[in-house]
Point group: C2
Chain length 129, copies 2
């Protein structure tokens, strides 16, 4: 599999793990020093433990089965790659309605010991003016 | 200059061009099909003309001399690179006070004809809950 497809598979599997709330698989391909810019505060989360905590917050919000890649573009070289995507998750605060939230996602990766790892994620929604 | 330093110089020059409101230099190293995720709406801006318009909006907000890279990390291979940074700009709505806004920035680049070009920018602040 070429680098582009390796990254695509990694991100696809990661999103599937989020839908299943499978924390082990969510964290499986992240660098210990990942820097996360998430939709809600804090401004940044540095390191894998802080990154894990962002998911604890997220799982209070989302329906487990809605964390979807609507559109993605991937740029991959031999050792460095990134991707950006339109994403959709959904609020579980009202169990009878489907209330989707579209958000923007950018992911930065590098290869370590022959395997792609995520070193940076940036999730956001436009600010309300 | 190695790839890391080329990207660092490109981003440093771009931020300096923003401070000077020099639109030609702001746009000098962007791909025609850049995809911009900006702090305010719209959700995304696709293409260099839409990207240019985000600066028209921005310049109504910022002091021209405040668009600063507080901290940056760069990952560069031969053909693909990305960077993420803590940034600061400032509101000019109150000319007597310095009202800084910290925001997060991620930039994705690829090399075209031997030159780095920006194909993606993601600017955001955490959402207010």
């Amino acid at each position: 599999m070429n680098n582009h497809d390796q990254i695509k598979q990694l991100i696809t599997n990661w999103a599937a793990a989020v839908r299943k709330k499978d924390m082990v698989k969510i964290l499986a391909h992240h660098s210990p020093d990942i820097v996360m810019y998430d939709v809600p505060e804090p401004f940044e989360s540095v390191g894998i433990e802080a990154y894990r905590k962002t998911w604890d917050i997220f799982f209070k919000y989302t329906k487990p089965d809605v964390f979807d890649i609507l559109e993605i573009r991937i740029f991959a070289d031999e050792q460095v790659g990134f991707a950006f995507a339109k994403m959709q998750c959904a609020d579980k605060s009202n169990s009878s309605d489907y209330v989707p939230l579209d958000f923007r996602l950018t992911i930065g990766l590098k290869k370590m010991d022959g395997q792609w790892v995520i070193v940076h994620e940036h999730h956001s929604v436009p600010a309300v003016s």
